[in-house]
């Protein structure tokens, strides 16, 4: 091993790390990362260039309904990918829809992470009652299939919301539905990992110094539990997008006034046989690209971070 006289910068360390090496070696991972970056950036910068804001009803003009994509006969500028039956520009709709899907995905993963890591650390570190309680709650949530929890929560909470909030709160309800079934996995992973780490000698070394428990948990143990969590979070980000799309497809997700990709597919599905294939095909493609790229990345990450596969 060579001894470096100076500490390399984060960038240099990244460049040198095994992770970066494995990344550059894996063509599918590079492809997925680039694709994902393009999808996310295009979705979030959409207001700058999208021909239409599909969430603004005033911009939807029925006259422009059912225009085919630009390369087909009857295609019209600026509707590159055509319009749906409301006169909604498909390209704008999938960009804005992806933005909603991505935001819901991120929000649900972040909230699930916060809850899961917090409770998992506490349960793994203290054991006993905290752990038992967490395990029981987890048992219960895990004994109801995820999709069922999500459907019930979004169907029920929507009912309980005051009418004025129903539209606005739809995204929040979806996040809640996904978080509710998603955090258990993180909590269990962190708990298991914490239970392992807590017995390791570096933790005992810190305990010897009478470092407060909270500090041991967060500054010693937490960083060492993050690897599996990172993988799980990436894959769950994809799952969250899928769950959102599924709920929206079933009609209990995002409302048509703020369509996510799933909503667009649900709406477009009615026109599957009508020859207006572009209404459903492009959202389907976008959804698949999004999830495939996330999963490719997560899959690579799982292998790359698995010490056994090195």
């Amino acid at each position: 091993m060579t001894v470096n006289p100076s500490s390399p910068s984060l960038f240099a360390r990244t460049r040198q790390s095994d992770l970066w090496y494995s990344f550059t070696r894996q063509r599918s991972a590079v492809f997925a990362a680039v694709l994902l970056a393009v999808l996310i950036i295009s979705a979030f910068t959409a207001p700058l260039y999208a021909p239409q804001n599909p969430f603004d009803p005033a911009q939807l003009e029925l006259w422009n309904a059912e225009i085919p994509p630009i390369w087909l006969e009857g295609g019209q500028w600026p509707y590159l990918l055509g319009t749906d039956t409301q006169g909604r520009d498909i390209l704008s709709a999938i960009l804005y829809g992806s933005r909603i899907s991505i935001l819901i995905g991120i929000a649900s993963v972040v909230f699930a992470l916060l809850i899961g890591i917090g409770s998992g650390l506490a349960a793994g570190y203290y054991g006993g009652f905290v752990e038992n309680a967490l395990m029981r709650v987890g048992d219960i949530l895990l004994s109801i299939p995820t999709i069922l929890i999500a459907i019930l929560v979004s169907a029920i909470v929507r009912e309980l919301l005051p009418p004025a909030l129903r539209d606005v709160g739809a995204a929040g309800v979806l996040v809640l539905a996904i978080v509710l079934s998603g955090w258990v996995q993180y909590a269990r992973t962190v708990r298991a990992q914490t239970a392992v780490e807590r017995r390791k000698e570096y933790v005992q070394a810190a305990q010897l110094l009478k470092v407060p428990a909270r500090r041991i948990m967060f500054s010693h143990i937490l960083p060492n539990t993050l690897t599996p969590i990172l993988v799980a979070a990436t894959l769950n980000f994809g799952m969250a997008i899928l769950t959102e799309a599924t709920l929206s497809f079933l009609g209990i997700g995002m409302p048509p006034s703020q369509p996510s990709l799933g909503t667009l597919i649900r709406l477009g599905n009615q026109f599957l046989f009508s020859g207006m294939w572009w209404i459903v095909l492009f959202p389907v493609l976008q959804l698949c690209l999004l999830v495939v790229s996330v999963n490719l990345l997560g899959d690579w990450l799982r292998d790359a971070l698995n010490p056994k596969l090195r």
Partner: protein, 323 residues
């Protein structure tokens, strides 16, 4: 062993009680059942009387007790929409869902296990990398998209398989089966493929991961050092050590498949419990929602418990550890 059984069953019972509590809460708090049952001409007095008859004036714990007591006897009340006993409504749909789920499970094992073994043994070869890539696409495609695609290709484009429904069914006692008629079998193909798609990739990836894990283990190295031929190392020693988690996961996943089937059932208009549930959701048919929640959770918990117990019975390590 007895202790293990008791604990496992107690745990299952506890989980079910909590699930029942959730179902009860839904029942009690989402939408006023009276509001849903009466029409607009009903007077206040009539509403109160109905409330009384439905037992909605009792204290909350009493109502919960009633709910659980009834639920245990399979009485979940009457569907608001179908005006039929929820339990018999679900019992009617049960065979359809179970047939679909079992078929999907069989497909996932028959296809997934060999794929997993191939990709593990031939790790790094182009075709196993390709299969790996396909498996990622497999977990990324939402099942409704797969269903739509299958319908488009096999029903509309080639016109060789039915796009919806269950075909003709034959009744055997209270069970109905589509397996005994040609149209029933044909109708089962597309939905079970659509449902198994995700499961296939799960099985494949699990088998692959387990195989890789086992193939790295010392006893495999030692078996090879003993001169055990490669095929025997792979299929007798390694695969057997992988099958346990695969069978476990498959068995436990039947519960999620039942829940997941609701999407497939919606797309293919498959007359199972899931379709019933989705319709109940859109109609806020709360007795059906509550019953479905309880029943699917029950199947889920029962399977988990059963798998755990079976596991303890057959694994030589666990068997003796428990003694």
């Amino acid at each position: 062993m007895i202790v293990f059984l008791i604990k496992r069953l107690a745990n299952a019972a506890f989980v079910m009680l909590v699930v029942a509590l959730m179902a009860f809460m839904i029942f009690r708090f989402v939408g006023d059942p009276v509001q849903l049952m009466v029409n607009e001409q009903t007077t206040q007095a009539e509403r109160d009387e109905l409330r009384e008859r439905l037992g909605l004036n009792q204290s909350m714990p009493m109502q919960y007790l009633h709910f659980v007591a009834n639920a245990v006897q399979g009485d979940f009340g009457i569907s608001y929409r179908n005006q039929q006993e929820v339990m018999s409504l679900i019992a009617e749909r049960f065979p359809a869902t179970i047939e679909l789920v079992l078929m999907a499970t069989i497909i996932s094992l028959v296809v997934g296990v060999p794929l997993g073994v191939i990709t593990a043994i031939h790790r790094g070869k182009w075709y196993s990398e390709g299969l790996q890539f396909l498996s990622i696409i497999g977990v990324s495609l939402p099942s409704f998209v797969i269903g739509i695609m299958l319908i488009l290709v096999f029903s509309v484009m080639f016109n060789i398989l039915p796009a919806f429904g269950r075909g003709d069914v034959v009744s055997i006692g209270w069970w109905t089966t589509g397996l005994l008629t040609a149209s029933g079998r044909a109708a089962l193909i597309l939905p079970s493929i659509a449902l198994s798609f995700y499961q296939i990739t799960l099985v494949m990836r699990l088998v692959r991961a387990e195989m890789l894990e086992v193939l790295r283990s010392d006893f495999i190295k030692f078996a090879r050092a003993r001169g055990v031929p490669a095929w025997r190392v792979h299929y007798s020693h390694a695969l057997r050590n992988c099958l346990m988690p695969v069978v476990t996961m498959t068995a436990m996943n039947i519960g999620s498949l039942i829940a997941f089937a609701l999407i497939t059932e919606t797309v293919f208009q498959w007359p199972g419990m899931g379709l019933l549930f989705i319709q109940a959701v859109t109609f806020v048919d709360i007795p059906v929602m509550a019953a479905y929640l309880c029943i699917v959770s029950f199947i889920f918990v029962a399977l988990n418990t059963l798998v755990d117990i079976t596991y303890a019975l057959i694994d030589p390590r666990l068997r003796n550890a428990k003694a």
